[in-house]
Amino acid sequence: MAKYGLLVFPERCTGCNACNIACASHNQLGVDVSYNRLEFLETGTYPNVKMEILPVQCQHCDNAPCVSVCPTQATYKREDGIVAIDADKCIGCKYCMAACPYEARQLNEKRVPEKCRWCPEMLEKGEQPACSATCMNEVRLFGDLEDPNSQLNKELAKHEVYQLLEVKGTKPSIFYVKK
């Protein structure tokens, strides 16, 4: 069984938001919802100043607070590691939204707290999801953490990585390359 993971190279991101809108059209999202976002951080003072950009989306946590708080099991963890939502079971209580420390979820027009699906239909075909496929700077690399030959594992071995809000103990499936 595959276990999906993602490696992000934030240093390369130039904030173009192609990932954001490629995801929106692949997943046919309404205008008010987006599954990924960019966090901008400016440090220093002119002219010695830097800009950092952090692409953020659902971390598909192994220890997902959104899964444990969901009263109807609408949010559940798939065997391949993807945290999925069954919209039919969702009662719109928004517990998962409150529980997620990454603010990965957004209410859609049907009051379902949507989030990144990790595009299993692409991963299963061995393809990159829309957000990654369109990124001109190759910021995202999806792959199978269980497969020792996956490009993902090769790149993971080459870089020092960190995860977001490690202190929360959520065990995200997304790794960020330290510069």
Partner: protein, 736 residues
């Protein structure tokens, strides 16, 4: 989480609760059904989100465009496209498209008419204008040159030389300088470069996805990237160094770079001896431009200029100054000289026709239909905008014209009929209030897809074109901006059937010509044109349709073009001419020397700033502002805000989110501010996107302001450009 605090990390992500309907999209829960039940048809074509025209593959389900992806072969996209490319595809389903021909019946009032009525009325009107004022009073304005060959046939028939592109508002200084000095144009070979200087050029804002990918690849291999720009632009994010320069002084920086290269003997003597004409004259005139001279002008330390010049020479010829595009080339009175210096600096290190330096685009010879020549062709007069005309704008390329002065031509009675195609001067040319006066022409026809400002305020007739995903076009040789050895051919073809009562421009011109009695002026279809174009290539229409983009064997090799042992550029000497002879008119010099900007903010006045502008990565100027998903991004990331340097803002008591009044000689507007360290203190920066004012383009209408609101109509005497950053504004907090 390492270096970002949780607070910072979370602050930008306020949850937006959805409202309203989502007509263009299936909606969340239907995704799975749509994804699995319908089979996907994939049709290759190319994008229309900006002028990179990236190859794309459209995914169609149930006769509905689902999404687009980058075409894997296409030079510009290479499998990846930017936000606007994705957004443009969704705009197909915009509620603000014009769904059939329209005739103005009052201010802001239009009534739908039939194509026949449109052709008849426009044809008759045009016929009488030509009779009364000659064909010279007819003007065609277009964003590019796509429909030029069609327009030429009508214009040859009526006797008009006035085909004008929007280029004078974009990059004329550059193309003009290259034409005069080299007779050709070259591109950076980003992939193989070791040292790249991007000055006033933001590849990550005005995006060529594959160009950025080449830079990422070069950087992985250790290439250095220097970004010189008053603003920390998107490409500065991945640069080794960002060097803020005083806006308007790039020419001084470049002159002093050359001074270092020459005085320290760092230039490539062999190359210069063999391939440059006018070097000694240049050397003589460049003597005084030392880094110490440039330091107070540019605000860049002399030592830094030396360091850059030395590094640049060290990595040469795998080094270049990016030839650039809009960035430096329509902004200042010295833009033409700045463009000239770009060529000179590249030539001084001998990087012409070198891998990792500057290389040509592979070109492709396409075939043409053998069309009957036009009988009784009337003689054409001089261009009404004076481009290329002695005594007027002699040095401006007549094939491109001067778009921004159209309202003046109308006021002077020189332009009586104006056709505006895929172009929106009321929003993208300076001084919109003045541009509105285009409507005073006796006949104004706007050919477009939505209710842009030009259609809404100026047009007598709106003729809606098929959307780019609905139409077939003459195939295009892919080239420009990034070097490539293999020629490519791309086809724009319909992905779905036209949704509304729209046409392609060829059929519009046919209809108008017919109505004027010029029957059979266009005895061909676009299909026949495509067949003729590809005939010499040994490929079939079917193959091209299927592939969308085809690549041919390499034709480009490094090495300066030579003929019989002599340099053979298409210039007088066959060499790179450091003096542009055509510029030696009216007492001007052919060799670039220092020309200060026209206007300067008063350093003692805390309220004065130079207004500068640039692209945002998810918008192409006004073209994409009405796209809902893209506008959402603007909302989410404070994209409509005007940037001010933090220290300057503090003096004026301005904080991020505050509304300020911006005032120039011609306008006064209110805008919200983003306070940042990422901008030169002397500048106020605006994204070149917003300020839509067509009430029928509902998403863009009333959002933000535009730099064009503040600049008067001006013409750079050498290349005809708008000098769009020669403007000083005052900024004051609301209520002050």
């Amino acid at each position: 989480m390492t270096n970002l605090s949780r607070r910072t990390f979370l602050k930008a992500s306020a949850t937006v609760v959805a409202a309203g309907s989502v007509p263009a999209y299936f909606g969340f829960s239907e995704f799975k059904k749509a994804a699995t039940e319908e089979s996907v048809k994939k049709v290759p074509t190319f994008c229309h989100g900006c002028t990179s025209y990236c190859g794309i593959i459209a995914h169609v389900k149930n006769d509905r465009v689902w999404k687009v992806e980058g075409h894997p072969i296409h030079l510009k996209s290479s499998g990846r496209i930017c936000a606007r490319g994705h957004g443009m595809a969704a705009y197909l389903y915009s509620k603000d498209r014009v769904t059939g021909p329209m005739k103005r019946v009052g201010e802001g009032k239009f009534e739908p008419i039939s194509w026949n009525q449109a052709f008849k009325e426009i044809g008759e009107k045009l016929e009488s204008i030509v009779k009364q004022y000659t064909g010279n009073s007819v003007l065609w304005l277009e964003h590019g040159t796509h429909r030029k060959s069609y327009v030429d046939r009508l214009f040859d028939t009526i006797g008009s030389p006035n085909f004008t592109t929007q280029y004078s508002t974009c990059f004329n200084a550059k193309t003009n300088a290259w034409l005069q000095m080299t007779g050709t144009s070259l591109n950076g070979d980003h992939k193989n470069a070791k040292y790249m200087i991007f000055e006033g050029r933001n590849f990550a804002g005005g995006i060529i996805p594959n160009g950025m990918n080449h830079i990422t690849q070069a950087k992985e291999k250790g290439a250095k990237l220097i970004v010189i720009d008053p603003r920390f632009s998107e490409i500065a994010k991945i640069a080794d160094e960002w060097i803020p320069i005083r806006p308007g002084t790039d020419l001084a920086f470049r002159l002093s770079m050359a001074n270092v290269l020459i005085s320290e003997n760092l230039y490539n003597k062999t190359f210069v001896q063999q391939f440059v004409d006018g070097f000694s004259e240049f050397k003589r005139m460049n003597k005084e431009y030392t880094p110490e001279w440039a330091e107070p002008i540019t605000g860049i330390k002399a030592d830094k200029i030396r360091e850059i010049a030395r590094d640049y020479a060290k990595y040469a010829p795998q080094a270049f100054i990016e030839p650039g595009w809009h960035g430096l080339h329509s902004h200042y009175v010295n833009s033409t000289q700045t463009a000239q210096m770009g060529i000179i600096l590249n030539a001084l290190v001998g990087n012409f026709y070198e891998k990792g330096g500057l290389m040509p685009s592979a070109s492709l010879q396409l075939g043409h239909l053998d069309l009957p020549s036009i009988e009784n062709m009337p003689e054409k007069g001089a261009r009404i905008d004076g481009a290329g005309v002695t005594g007027k704008y002699r040095t401006v390329e007549p094939s491109r014209g001067i778009a921004q002065i159209t309202p003046q031509l109308v006021q002077q009675g020189l332009a009586k009929a104006v056709f505006i195609c895929n172009y929106n001067p009321l929003r993208t040319a300076p001084d919109p209030e003045e541009q509105k006066k285009i409507k005073d022409a006796e006949l104004v026809v706007s050919i477009n897809i939505d209710w842009n400002e030009t259609s809404y305020y100026a047009a007598d007739y709106i003729l809606p074109e098929h959307y780019y995903l609905e139409r077939l076009e003459h195939p295009q040789a892919v080239s420009g901006h990034i070097s490539h050895d293999n020629p490519q051919l791309a086809l724009r073809q319909p992905v779905i059937k036209p949704m509304y009562d729209t046409k392609n421009t060829l059929d519009m011109l046919k209809g108008i010509a017919d109505a004027m009695g010029h029957k059979d002026l266009y005895p061909f279809t676009i299909e026949q044109e495509v067949e003729a174009a590809i005939a010499p290539l040994g490929i079939t229409f079917e193959q091209l349709k299927k592939a969308g983009t085809l690549e041919f064997p390499a034709t480009v090799k490094p090495g300066f073009p030579m003929k019989k042992g002599k340099p053979a550029l298409p210039t007088l000497t066959g060499k790179i001419q450091f003096s542009a002879d055509l510029f030696k008119i009216d007492g001007k010099l052919g060799i670039p020397v220092w020309v200060p900007p026209l206007v300067e903010p008063d350093p003692k006045n805390d309220h004065e700033f130079r207004l500068i502008h640039g692209k945002q990565p998810w918008h192409s100027h006004a073209m994409t502002t009405n796209i809902e998903h893209l506008m959402k991004l603007s909302e989410k990331y404070q994209g409509t805000f005007m940037w001010l340097n933090a220290s300057r803002a503090k003096k004026l008591g301005i904080k991020t989110g505050d509304t300020v009044t911006v005032k120039s000689k011609i306008a006064q507007k209110k805008v919200q501010v983003k306070v940042t360290e990422l901008l030169h203190p002397e500048a106020a920066w605006l994204p070149s996107t917003y300020g839509g004012f067509s009430p029928k383009n509902r998403t863009a209408n009333g959002v933000g302001v535009n730099f064009n609101d503040f600049i008067p109509i001006m013409v750079d005497p050498l290349s005809g450009s708008t000098m769009a950053q020669e403007v000083v504004v005052t900024v004051a907090k609301e209520g002050n």
